[in-house]
Amino acid sequence: MEIVHVYTKKRNEFGRQCNFSDRPAELHVDILPDPSLASNFIERDPCDIPIQCTQEMSEHEVNTERFESDTRGINHVEGGWPKDVNPQEMEQTIRFRKKVEKDEHYFSTIMQLGSNMEHCIKQNNAINIYQEYFEEEEVVEESEEQPSAKTINVFRDPNEIKRTATCLSWHPDGSCKLAVAYSSLGFQNISPDMSYDSYIWDIENPNKPEMTLKPVSLLVCLEYNPKDSHILVGGSYNGQIAYWDTRKGSQPVEMSTIEHSHRDPVYKVIWLQSKTGTDTFSASTDGQVLWWDIRKMSEPTERLVLDPNKKGNLDNALGAISLELDYHFVPTKFMVGTEQGLVVSCNRKAKTPAEKIVCTYSGHHGPIYALQRNPFFPKNFLTVADWTARIWSEDIKESSIMWTKYHMAYLSDGCWSPVRPSVFFTVKMDGTLDVWDFLFKQNDPTLSLKVCDEALYSLRVQDNGRFLACGSQLGTATLLEISPGLCTLQRNEKALATAMFERETKREKILEARHREMRLKERSRSEQSKDEDTKEGDGEESVEELATRTEAEFYEIVEAELKKRAKEQEKKVRRD
């Protein structure tokens, strides 16, 4: 989209138009000499005047004609012979040479030079001083340094009442700015003094935010438009979506109408890749995913209800907490992470709303706070929820292919590294940041760093993979730089990661197949037993026969009882 910013100025503000015209000369003032004023002055005598008696000279610059100079070598064919020696005549030259050789000076010089020369010759013979060692080896050495991360800057919430930094977004070009959305996620935890502002920070200046965004209600999520770095869209706690243009100021340019917005806080908003660059979609725990065009915020362009029964029933819907859209892969498929622990994969282009929900992936126990496809392997995605982080393959719906162990603290956010396919980051509620490299170590994080004492709620890696920012409960956004080993692509990494994913996927497939087999067996066994029951049922009598038989039995029992009673009576009588 060609986002045009129009600078307007009213015509009447321009000022009066200039009208030039010709006029004749006018005499304004004519002051005549007045000798009476001379009495106010005295003549000066003597006067001091410095003078100089030198030759008068003038400086003058002239551009002369170009003088071309050239450097040439002369090929000394043969020359230097003294006048009396003719170079063509062999005899004369030989005679001359012999004369020189008799010279004492010649003798001493040559001896000295000779010894010098011999030394160098021997040097040459001994070792080739120009030999290239290590010619074939690669210049790039793998530095076996310890992975580390270093805090560069800390951006604190300038307000007195601290709010949680719930979402971070890097500026799309250059990544020199960071937009942080502050809100309070606790239920009804908002005090009346709490400021609603969210800030855009310049990385270099942690003392004061570069710009303030003033929404109507606390912003839960915030995203820069990747196509136009002046536009940001934010989802707020009251369910509305708003968008800002940083050129236009702190107030939102437009907000969605309350009737058509979400009924719950908007947890995630993502920009779509479209020709106009103005489409976004948002997800909220009220169970809806809404598509918006920011030019017309009065109504969403499309709506999807996350009803697992595919009936569009809002009451049944799953609350959405995270969204994922990988537009390099397939722009029409997206995934939603729900509060109930399911990941729902949806297709936007489906004809009927029922077909929009393609499939679900279950396996988590709690709300899925982060959901992201691997930038190098779009078939695999990472989910972060409850106490684990899991990696899934699109084809296996029953369980994840890889997962971390259960941690002591809840995991609150995670993302892949944009430069290395096997590295991802997670943050936990105890304030630690974990860097995982599953090609290096699978049971534990490669690097675990305690960023702050309070819980960390959000995490975002910059596009170059080198910097990452995490937001905490007290509104502190920390900017970290990770060591180059963790953000440069290692040799064979892609191949190894592919192999690992394929292996795990295969394992899960085999397990799934096995489960299916076992279930089939169970089912067939239970069906078999049902068959046997019905066979016996056929042998049974019809209702009448059943009645007669029951009657006969009844009478037998009654008679037996009577006989028993009679016997007892007899015994009693006999005792008495």
Binding site: G73, I74, N75, H76, V77, E78, G79, G80, W81, P82, F96, R97, V100, E101, K102, H105, Y106, F107, T109, I110, M111, Q112, L113, G114, S115, N116, M117, E118, C120, I121, K122, N124, N125, N128, Y130, Q131
Partner: protein, 96 residues
């Protein structure tokens, strides 16, 4: 006289030495083991080169002076030992 001969013979006998030329300050080859045309060519060209190298060294530091000059090329190495009045030029094929 004989010692000069001996020195030159020794140099000539070293491994890889292809030729020796002694040139005087005017550029006249005094003694040589190569053929005439090559000698004359070498003498003329190298004389200029040594002059240039010497002035370069002297220009950078007037106290300094050129003691030895090696010109390594793909095929061989030309070593020049300069003096006030004479140069000793040796062409050697380095050992590889």
């Amino acid at each position: 006289m004989a010692e000069v001969e001996e020195t030159l013979k020794r140099i000539q006998g070293q491994k890889g030495v292809q030729g020796i030329i002694i040139v005087n300050a005017e550029g006249i080859p005094i003694k040589t083991t190569l053929d005439n045309s090559s000698t004359v060519q070498y003498a003329g060209l190298i004389h200029q080169l040594v002059m240039k190298a010497r002035t370069t060294v002297r220009d950078i530091d007037p106290q300094n002076d050129l003691t030895f000059l090696r010109v390594r090329s793909k095929k061989n190495e030309i070593m020049i030992a300069p003096d006030k009045d004479y140069f000793l030029i040796v062409i050697q094929n380095p050992s590889d």
